[in-house]
Amino acid sequence: MSILLDSDTRVLVQGATGAEARRLLPTMTDYGTRVVAGVSPGKGGESVGGVPVYGAVADALREHEVDLSVLFVPARFVRDAALEAIEAGIHTVHILAEGVPHHDACALLTRAAERGTFVIGPNSQGMVSPGKAKLGGTGGEVPDLMFRPGPVGVVSRSGGMGAEICLFLTQAGIGQSTYVALGGDLLIGSAFVEMLALFEQDPETRVVIMFGEPGTDREEEAARFIASGGFTKPVVAMIPGEFWETSPTPASVSHTGALITRGRGAPSGKKKLLKEAGVLVAERFSQVVPLVKQALGQTYRND
């Protein structure tokens, strides 16, 4: 199994006639992603890679049932495109664009929360359920070098490191259930807690890897969620950047940053909370794969 995305998930592609979608859509369908329709304002009636394109989300939904919409639209149009998908009642909205204005992200995430829409991103590099389906650019044209099916869920705030972790797992013969790049922006939809809750329900996922970053309290929330029993499988986590805490602090011009964070967001604090919750914390990248092997058990073989 997998989370959020499998070979049955009916996918809508917004921004389907743009250059990015034209390039990536064939790699998604070749991999097995069930893309049922595309949307591009003013381009209704066209088709991309054999997928019919509609002028509006509502038009597409009259002809097709859709579980998830992936947005290839440029950053400045993301707000309206995402709101269109949210208002149409699509369950999951996956936003790839980098550089979405904070006010736009805030508005669409607020509406999504009101409507109960599941949002991944903005600034997510992609999502892959190996052997079943993939969204976005991650994995490129040779996804099998980076991904293989297996028991490890991978969730990363960094798209590059998520791909790197999957590559080293695959090279070590360990497959993944689903890999999700959460997005590196300040304001994103779902984060570690939501992914852990889904992985908890997925019988094939036996271990989850979290790759975090300094700032925000996504990892702290995850630590509390795990400690409270919300996630019962082994977790391996890596959060780089502790060295910055002891660097000379740049002079701040305002007080607001310090008042908001109050010391939260530091990698050392995140790692401490995660360890207290029983998470296996990798201090170095080379420890990630051995810790995953340890969590899976010495006798594990990914066949």
Binding site: L24, G184, T256
Partner: protein
Amino acid sequence: MSRLLENDSLTLLGEGGLPVPRFEVCADSGESARAAEHLGGRVVIKALVPVGKRGKAGAVKFAVSADEARAHADAILGMEVRRFPVKKLIVMEALDIEREIFCSISFDAPRKCPLILFSAEGGVDIEELSEHHPDKLIGWPVNILEGLQAEDALALVERAGLTGDLAEQVARAVCAMYGVFCAHDCEMIEVNPLAELADGRVVAAAGVVQLDAQALFRQPDLEAKLGVEGGNGWRPFTELEMRMREIDAIDPHVGAIRFSEMDGDIGFMVTGGGYGLSSLEALLDEGGKPATTFDITPGRYEEKMRRAVKAVLSKPGIKGLLLAGNVSNFTRVDIKVAGVVRALKEAELDFEKFPVIIRYAGPGVEEARRLIAEVPGVEWHEDEASIEDLARRIVARAYGRDER
């Protein structure tokens, strides 16, 4: 940095309906004396620098006459405030402040909403106040789709203990700040102090506006005000950083460069946010001292890479170069490597003695491997090399501890 200087911040807030003091920006003591006359004689002279705590650095002074303003201006100009040389001053009308209030608006990441922070006791010690009396700092989330209603702003300031006409004026000020926050795509606005004056008026005595760098495309007037004065946020840009900005500007449409010069001696050009951070941590662990950090967004940017590598190699005292990136999905690595190879050939160094270690993986890797082979002595790695392998190799070779 996308932070406006104080004069631009106050002007923007003033245009948004928040009362601000009268002020002039001055470049020398003569201008400062004349400004003091225009403003009625009693003025505050402040260094116009992109950092805080100017008062504690002695860069804020009161004057009661034009002559005194001239003398203070002479003293402050030429000072250095937290690494920033003072080149301009703000001369501002002096205010008779009865009470200092703190108000800021920024985004709350966990709640995904604008958050107003408000305290009826503002001033420079706001952080200590919030630590010892957290109840005196109110956090007020706003639904961005509904905006901030006047009655909500009033409820906020009344909860903080303000009453009567003062509460009304302050609530209007908070609404004006929120209006600017939304209209100009701000990431953060802070007014500290929002001052109640002896004559009963409420004025923003100081203000900081930080813009959202991701929204500058629709704030062109404000983008034009963002000069290089802010440096990299905590010190002015170095010569090498200025040169890298010029390189970045040759093509604004591909590969945006983020670059910092550091004190060390290993050219560190490892791209990708999380990958770069993990690699820097590994390098420091191995005892390596980075001379630079460098990131570039994915794209086709051979020429930018050529110039960037040459710029880093020109840094005096540099002992080696590490070029790496996480496994690429679609971006062809051979285009990047073509630029690197041209720079290395032009550098005419002996790469047996000056170590260059490169790791790229992803599309175009075969062509990249072939290109690298044209430069003897360069150490090439692909997807099998881990972050720590690379850190260990560059430290061993740059510092003469090669055990190969």
